[in-house]
Symmetry: C2
Subunit: 330 residues, 2 copies
C-alpha cells in the first residue's frame, strides 16, 4: 500500500490527508504529542465538523513519523514551511514533496518550491498544488478542481493519481513558478476584495478589483518567468474569483475586518489560521519592484496593513487609479 | 442643456436614466401612457426601492417623446430591441444611439449594434455599454465600472462624459463586437454557475465553471473577430465574475431555479425581467458552430433549457469534460 505524509494539521492539511487516505496509508504530522492526541481523539479539527479523518490516517509528532516513501505534502502556513521541514529527519529529503501552501516567504522572498530546494530537496522532486480549493468545500466532497505543477512530469502525474477523486479533479502543469505566484498573489487581491465588502460595496466593485487584480498578478508573474495561461486557468483567475467572492476565504474575511477598523494584528488573531495574503503582500511587492512592474493593489493592501493608509482612502485612490488603467487598453 | 432619452423602464433603463439626469434632461420612453403614469407617480419602479428618478427625468410613451439630440440609450431586453426601435419616429435614427442590452437576437443571430444598424442607424453612430453593473448596486451609488465601445472614438467619449459619475466609472474601447459578445455570453455561463449553486455546490465549483466559461467566451469571441484583451477586462472576466457569483443576477437565479427542478418557462416567469442568457444560449451556440469552435457550457445550458438534458447529469458531464480541458494546456 502507498504511504504518504501530510505536514500540518491546518484545515487544508487535514483535508488533503483525508483525500490521500482514499488510496493510501497517511501520517498526519503535527507539532507535538499533545496535538496528536487531540486530533486523534477528535478524528479531525473542531473547526471542521464536516471532516472525519479516515482510519487510514494516523497522527503523530515529527519524531514519531515514519518516512513515507511515496511523498510528503507540506500544508503548514508559508512562513512556517522552512522551520517545519528543517525539523524532519534527513531521510524525508529523499522523497517526493508537494507544497500546498499559498504564500511567499518573508525575508528571503522565496516561493515555497524554492524554500524546499534550499531545505535539501532536488528541484525535480518538488511539486506544488493550487487552485480554487476552499478547504471546507473540498472536505464536504463538493466538486472542485486543482492544479499540480512540477518540473518533472512524472511527479505531477504521481500526485495527480494520489489526490484525485470523482469530486476533486487534479490537473497537471509544468509552470511551477506561475502556479505558485498566482496562488500567493491572489490572497493579497482577496484582502482588497474583502475590504470592499467591509466598506459596504457590492459585486460590481469586487468584480472591478478582481479584473485589475488579475492584470496585476499576470503582469508580475510574466515578469518573473511564469506563463500567461496559468493566470487564465484554475490556479489563476479561478482561485482569484473563489477567494475574492467567498467569505469562507480567510483573506477575504481579514479584508472585511480591516475595513471595519479592526487593527491588522487583532484581525489576524480573530481569523485564527494564517492569513497568507497579509504576509505575502510585502514579498510580492518587492518581487514586483525587482521585476520593474507596478502592483498598485498589493501596494495599497500593504500600506493599510502597515498602518500607513486608511482603508477607505486607499480604496478610493485604488478605484480611481486602477479603473483608469482599463481605459489605456481601449 | 443636453438632452438624452432612455428606451425601456427596465431596472437598468431607469438606473441609466438616473445617471444621465445628473447633467442632462432625460426622457424615459416606456411602452404605454399607463406605464408612463405609473412610473411617474412612483418616480421609479416598485422593485427598485433605492432608486428615485430625479426631477430631470420625464416619462412618456414613444409617440410623445421629443427627439433627444444628444442620444438614445436602448435598455429594453435584447429580443425586444428591434421592435422597440422600429416604433420610434425616423428622426431618432439621426441621433447617436447606445445599446445597453446584453444579448444576441434569436433568429438573426445579430449583436445589438448590428440590429441597430439594420434598423437605420449608421455604424459610427452606434455605441455599446457593458461591464459588471448589477443595476441595484449602481442605483445605490456603490462603486462600479463599465466599458463603452464604439467604432467612432468621439461617440465613445461622448457617452463616457454623459454617463460617468464619481462612483460609476466609464472607460472606452473600440472593440464593439468583443464587448457585445462578452456581455451576451457571460449570461449563459452565469446560468451554469447558478445551476451549480442550486445543486448545493460551492465557490470552488463556480470558480471552475467561471474559468472554463472565460476560456469558452474568449475562444468564440476571437473566432468572431473580437480582441483577447476585452475578455480579460471589465466587460469580460469582470462582468462574468459578478454575474457568476451574485444572486442579484437574474441569470444566476434562473440557473438556481432550473437546478431546483422548476421548468424553464416558469423559472423565467418567476424572475420577472428578461433572462438574457436563456435566449442568448442558442444564438451563441450557432455563432460558435459557424465559427468552428466548441462551446460546451453554452451547449449544456441550452440542452437543459430545451428539456433534452437533466441539470444534474449535464453538470456532471460538464465538470468531467471541461476540467479535463485544463490539463491539455499543462
Amino acid at each position: 500500500v502507498a504511504r504518504y505524509a501530510v505536514l500540518g494539521a491546518t484545515s487544508w492539511g487535514v483535508t488533503l490527508a483525508s483525500l490521500l487516505a482514499a488510496r493510501a496509508q497517511v501520517t498526519l504530522i503535527v507539532r507535538t504529542p499533545e496535538e496528536a492526541e487531540q486530533v486523534t481523539a477528535a478524528r479531525g479539527l473542531a473547526r471542521m465538523p464536516d471532516l472525519r479523518l479516515p482510519e487510514a490516517v494516523t497522527v503523530g509528532p515529527p519524531a514519531r513519523a515514519e518516512i513515507a516513501s511515496d511523498g510528503l505534502v507540506v500544508a503548514v502556513p508559508a512562513q512556517a514551511v522552512r522551520a517545519n521541514v528543517a525539523a524532519l529527519a534527513p531521510g524525508w529529503r529523499e522523497q517526493p514533496v508537494l507544497s500546498a501552501a499559498k504564500g511567499l516567504e518573508l525575508g528571503s522572498g522565496r516561493r515555497m518550491s524554492e524554500v524546499l530546494v534550499e531545505a535539501g530537496w532536488t528541484a525535480p522532486q518538488v511539486a506544488v498544488l493550487s487552485g480554487p480549493n476552499l478547504s471546507h468545500e473540498v472536505a464536504r466532497g463538493l466538486p472542485a478542481a486543482a492544479v499540480v505543477a512540477a518540473s518533472d512530469a512524472a511527479q505531477a502525474a504521481a500526485w495527480q493519481a494520489a489526490l484525485a477523486t470523482g469530486a476533486f479533479r487534479v490537473y497537471r502543469s509544468s509552470d511551477v513558478a506561475g502556479v505558485e505566484l498566482a496562488g500567493a498573489m491572489k490572497n493579497v487581491i482577496a484582502i482588497a476584495a474583502g475590504a470592499a465588502t467591509g466598506l459596504g460595496f457590492g459585486a460590481n466593485t469586487i468584480a472591478a478589483i478582481l479584473t485589475r487584480g488579475l492584470a496585476e498578478m499576470t503582469r508580475v508573474g510574466l515578469a518573473l518567468g511564469a506563463r500567461t495561461e496559468t493566470f487564465l486557468g484554475l490556479a489563476g483567475v479561478g482561485d482569484l474569483a473563489a477567494t475574492c467572492f467567498s467569505e469562507a476565504s480567510r483573506n477575504h474575511r481579514f479584508g472585511i475586518l480591516l475595513a471595519q477598523g479592526v487593527p491588522p494584528g487583532e484581525a489576524a488573531t480573530r481569523i485564527g489560521e494564517a492569513v497568507e495574503g497579509a504576509t505575502t503582500a510585502p514579498v510580492a511587492l518587492a518581487l514586483a519592484a525587482r521585476a520593474g512592474v507596478e502592483a498598485p493593489i498589493t501596494a495599497a493592501v500593504w500600506a493599510v496593513i502597515e498602518g500607513r493608509s486608511n482603508v477607505g482612502e486607499a480604496m478610493r485612490a485604488l478605484l480611481a487609479r486602477e479603473l483608469t488603467a482599463e481605459a489605456q487598453r481601449g
